[in-house]
């Protein structure tokens, strides 16, 4: 055993470059897997921190059953499951400076109670001990934005009345000051806020922390049982399931990238092991001839791979932590609220990365190692073993058939089966490309021979000739194609998602919207605001109306269809339909439907639908159909008919255009006061969407560089293998008069060509993959992806650059080559 270990360690030590490349590929893939696992945990932790915000370590929240009422802290019984409680009083205010308005949520609590659940942290690291009436604590983000310092006086408008406060402390943007929406949260003294709001007893909500060892579920169950439902309601402080699901969704792309990375690692280690076993055949023969069993030979080779896997896996984890920190730093700044995301390294992630590194190494080495073990002793000793080649026609035939099926399937299948067809198509396209890549390279090389002959002379012609039938170059092309197509697919899909999510109002005129309950007086006030141009109030029916007994998830009613259409960017199915629909709206009970809804029910223009709200039913004529990215409404009705038929006194939505959409929005929020609403300018909406989508996509984009790094490791490995396998050929060339300059020229031309072919294959396959992705997702997407040639060309150029850089390895190695040593012995 000792001698075997010594033999193995000598091999590892002597082949330094290869050892380094193999280790690098294992390190990179295990680091990527570790990052994938950790990013999920880190993101979850950050989301939890952010979602908790004001709730701190409270598990349950008790609120009054009636809106506007206050919850009395004495209501909370002395239960053994309750650890601590903190009553919170909440209000809202408006901060105005230099024409800029900002919403400031006001919070007040007994500081002693608050300390037990969600202790505020001051920006200077100090503790907040007391807060007197007239004092306010502001978060550092808000304070620095408006250059507010401790001791300054700030004025907030509460219900239109000015309130003056002295800034007692500046708090860190943390704990109860954290928020998911724009604006800021300020802490006041309890008597102050009670006075301002006119609520002298009770709280807006009571936070409850569980006693030690008590689960959230047990606490909530106990509270629900103890508290009367008609007085207060008990809910979870933060929706844990939603946080977990969100984190899982965010980490999914990383697992996909890890899958790519692992595939590439298997490819790299497998091809390395093929050469390692080939090189060691004489030694294997000697071992076998002196009585070593197949198992021993396989064992020796596998032990070595175990070493690579173990060391690579162990080094991959600190590398992963470094990568994680880099990614999280960028991700934190793009999360709404801009909170710092802590790097969480879950033990499961460490275990998974390490075991994946070892398993991938062992599995990749298994086939060549066990093949070497099975070789007949006599043939190994005499050096007569030859690699078996598969019939080219069969391989290409399978590849072509697979390619055709993969390309056609998503076009033929739809519905639920469409997703399965899509997955098959994506994998099939890659597999087909791998199968036909050798033939593709050979055919291209034939064309390149002529071209290079003209461009680079005989060296170019010979370099192109060397590509034909060259397995190492075909492997390189495959590796490049996998990595470049991954980069292109990530880039295109990422750019599309960004454009899709952040540009929903592109065709719509509205510049702001308010989603909440509004009466006629509210709308009139908005219409009278300075700088307002156009206002569309809309009646909203969410799951309230059925059409031919099919529920409409959202129906809206408007008095002015023309303005509504331009406001929400309705794209009517046919030209002239808008005018006809507007006329129908004025004359009768008419309805216009979303194209998808219309198609799903096989309806046509002029059909009559029976609309009902559970009471009376009315016939409505289908007067048009539309598509819109700005609204998910399924049916639009004339307000005059809808209000009388289905009853609705208050508007649910308002859209507007204005000279200063932000100014109007602040005033609308002020008008809403404490009434729940979701009001945004389109710019705010787009920015919020952008920050969400960027938080999601930005790390994915960063990961593409790691894929390219892994590709570089694989390419270097392949070129090294190519060099080892062709060292003798290189020496033969030199012996008939090839100079070093010519060798360099030919190697670079070969490298460039392999890169070019890899890029060409990647561009073609990723184009097909993108088509498949959008064919499968197409029915749900009302926007065509823009395929920028620059994305394809840049990714291709990066692949070529990686391959050209990898050429340095054989060039350096060749400088040290001794011709006589290489050509004297076979």
């Amino acid at each position: 055993m000792k001698i075997i270990v010594k033999y193995m360690l000598t091999n590892v030590k002597e082949r330094r470059t290869r050892t380094a490349v193999m280790l690098l590929s294992v390190i990179l893939s295990s680091a990527l897997l570790f990052v994938s696992c950790s990013i999920s945990a880190s993101y979850e932790s950050a989301q939890r921190k952010m979602a908790r915000g004001i709730y701190g370590n409270a598990a349950a929240v008790v609120r009054p059953a009636e809106e506007g009422e206050c919850a009395d802290s004495t209501l909370i019984p002395d239960l053994p499951t309750v650890g601590a409680t903190a009553g919170i009083l909440k209000g809202s205010s408006l901060y105005h400076e230099d024409g800029y308005y900002e919403s400031v949520d006001l919070v007040a609590a007994d500081l002693n109670q608050l300390d037990n659940i969600n202790k505020p942290r001051l920006a200077d690291g100090g503790e907040l001990s007391d807060l007197s009436p007239g004092q306010i604590v502001l978060p550092d983000r808000f304070a620095s934005k408006y250059r507010i310092q401790r001791g300054d006086t700030v004025t907030l408008r509460v219900n239109g009345n000015p309130e003056h406060f002295t800034v007692a402390e500046i708090a860190a943007y943390d704990t109860l000051f954290l928020r998911q929406t724009r604006g800021a949260t300020a802490l006041l003294s309890l008597p102050d806020l009670a006075r301002i709001l006119g609520k002298t007893t009770g709280y807006s909500e009571i936070l409850v922390k569980p006693a030690e060892g008590v689960t959230r579920e047990a606490l909530i169950a106990d509270l629900k049982e103890a508290l009367p439902e008609d007085i207060c309601e008990v809910s979870e402080a933060a929706d844990e399931a939603q946080i977990e699901a969100g984190a899982r969704q965010k980490s999914m792309p990383f697992f996909l990238i890890s899958f790519f990375a692992m595939t590439m690692s298997v490819f790299i280690i497998y091809s390395s092991y093929k050469v390692i076993t080939l090189e060691r055949l004489p030694v294997i023969g000697t071992f076998r001839s002196i009585g070593a069993t197949r198992r021993t030979v396989t064992g020796i080779l596998l032990l070595e791979s175990l070493l690579y896997g173990g060391i690579g896996g162990l080094l991959g984890i600190p590398a992963g932590i470094l990568v994680l920190r880099l990614i999280l730093r960028g991700m934190g700044s793009s999360l709404s609220g801009g909170i710092e995301i802590p790097a969480v390294c879950p033990p499961l992630g460490i275990f998974l990365s390490l075991s994946a590194a070892v398993t991938v190494s062992l599995l990749s080495a298994w086939i060549p190692a066990s093949r070497a073990g099975r070789l007949p002793v006599k043939e190994v000793v005499l050096g007569k073993t030859e690699e078996k080649t598969r019939p080219v026609r069969l391989t290409v035939g399978i590849g072509t058939a697979l390619f055709l099926v993969s390309a056609a399937l998503p076009r033929l299948v739809s519905g639920t089966m469409g997703y399965a067809a899509g997955v098959f198509s994506l994998l099939g396209l890659i597999a087909a490309a791998i199968l036909v890549i050798s033939l593709f390279a050979d055919l291209c090389a034939m064309g390149l021979e002529r071209l290079y002959g003209l461009l680079f002379g005989n060296e170019g012609r010979l370099a192109a000739r060397n590509i034909r039938g060259n397995k190492s170059i075909a492997q390189n092309i495959t590796l490049l194609f996998i990595s470049i197509s991954a980069v292109i697919a990530i880039q295109v899909v990422g750019d599309f998602v960004t454009a899709y999510i952040t540009d929903v109002f592109r065709d719509a005129e509205l510049e702001g919207f308010a989603d909440g309950s509004m009466d006629r007086e509210f709308v009139q006030k908005v219409e009278q605001m300075e700088g307002i141009r156009s206002v569309v109030p809309v009646y909203v029916y969410n799951n309230e109306i059925t059409a031919d007994q099919t529920p409409l998830s959202r129906a809206e009613a408007t008095d002015n269809l023309e303005v509504y259409s331009s406001m929400f960017g309705l794209a009517y199915t046919e030209k002239g339909m808008e005018t006809e629909a507007a006329a129908a709206f004025r004359e009768k009970r008419a309805v216009i439907l979303s194209e998808e809804w219309l198609k799903q029910r096989n309806l046509s223009l002029g059909d009559t639908l029976t609309l009902s709200n559970g009471g009376a039913s009315y016939p409505y004529t289908v007067a048009g159909s539309f598509k819109s990215r700005a609204t998910d409404v399924e049916a639009i009705l004339p307000a005059s008919c809808a209000v009388s038929d289905f009853g609705k006194e208050r508007y649910g939505l308002l859209a507007y255009t204005a000279r200063d959409p932000d100014g109007i929005m602040v005033q609308i929020r002020d008008l809403f006061g404490e009434t729940p609403n979701w009001s945004r300018t389109t710019e705010e909406f787009n920015q919020d969407a952008l920050s969400t989508v960027e938080a999601f996509l930005q790390p994915m984009h960063s990961m593409t560089y790691f894929i390219l790094l892994l590709a570089a490791a694989g390419v270097i490995n392949n070129l090294l293998i190519h060099y080892i396998q062709n060292r003798r050929t290189a020496a033969m060339y030199r012996s008939v008069g090839q100079s070093r300059r010519q060798y360099t020229k030919m190697t670079l031309i070969e490298g460039f060509s392999a890169g070019l072919l890899g890029a060409a294959a990647a561009v073609a396959v990723s184009y097909m993959e993108i088509q498949t992705i959008f064919l499968v997702a197409g029915p749900k997407i009302a926007m065509q992806p823009r395929l920028e040639a620059s994305v394809f060309l840049t990714a291709g150029a990066m692949g070529i650059a990686v391959n050209m850089a990898g050429c340095l390895v054989p060039l350096i190695k060749n400088k040290k080559m001794k011709i006589v040593e290489e050509i004297t012995f076979e």
Binding site: N458, G737, T824
Partner: protein
């Protein structure tokens, strides 16, 4: 044979070649001086490890001596750059090796054309010469075959044609029959003999076979790193 300087194809003076094996210096060639005239067919013989192949490679410029110098057609090889030495290998020197050393992915005629292609020549300008070479080595019908599709003897014939394609001053052959059966070996030797006789081609050949050495006009022996004529 007395040879004038003008007729000297290759000459070497005080050639010493040392290797370091296991930290110790081993002198393989120990002060060898030799001249080979144009048109000569010289066989270098010696026991295994005597340094005969090392001498051949040094004379052919594939290896460099530790001491001493080599000149081909009066050109001292010691100071040549890689570019000049490579050009000399393409134009003035032909090599035939024991294991043929053909480029596996090139067919017979591509292998034969290789020195000219590397020299920047247009293949179509030399189609006549290529046909002659193929005829000389008897492989006209096998010109499109790759080395894998040829027998050992045929591969060696391709190697000889490749070595002669650029009409070199000197043909170096290292055990050209060493990997062939006796009948094929004899065929190759008679081919080399014919080339020397008919074309006046200078040949320096390393062999351990006295039978093969009979074809040559001069036999020299290397023993313990020294030359015995």
């Amino acid at each position: 044979m007395r040879v004038s300087e003008e007729k000297t194809a290759v000459a070497c003076r005080n050639i010493v070649k040392e290797y370091t094996v296991g930290g110790e210096g081993v002198r393989v060639l120990d002060g060898i001086t030799l001249k080979v005239c144009r048109g000569e067919f010289v066989s270098i013989m010696g026991e295994s490890g005597s340094g005969k192949s090392t001498l051949l490679y040094i004379l052919g410029g594939l290896d460099r001596p530790t001491e001493g110098n080599v000149s081909i057609n009066g050109t001292d090889l010691s100071g040549l750059s890689d570019e000049t030495m490579s050009r000399m290998r393409r134009q003035k020197i032909g090599f035939v090796f024991q294991f043929y050393n053909l480029i596996p992915n090139l067919n017979a005629e591509e292998n034969i054309m290789l020195p000219l292609l590397l020299d920047g020549k247009r293949a179509q300008d030399y189609s006549g010469r290529l046909a002659q070479m193929l005829e000389l080595v008897g492989l006209t019908q096998r010109r499109k075959h790759t080395p894998r599709e040829l027998s050992g003897g045929q591969q060696q014939r391709v190697a000889i044609a490749r070595a002669l394609m650029s009409r070199p001053e000197i043909l170096f052959a290292d055990e050209p029959t060493g990997n062939l059966d006796s009948r094929t070996g004899a065929e190759i030797m008679s081919l080399l003999e014919e080339i020397n006789r008919e074309r006046g081609q200078t040949i320096i050949m390393v062999t351990h076979s006295p039978e093969a050495a009979k074809s040559s006009s001069r036999i020299i022996t290397v023993r313990d790193g020294k030359l015995k004529e």
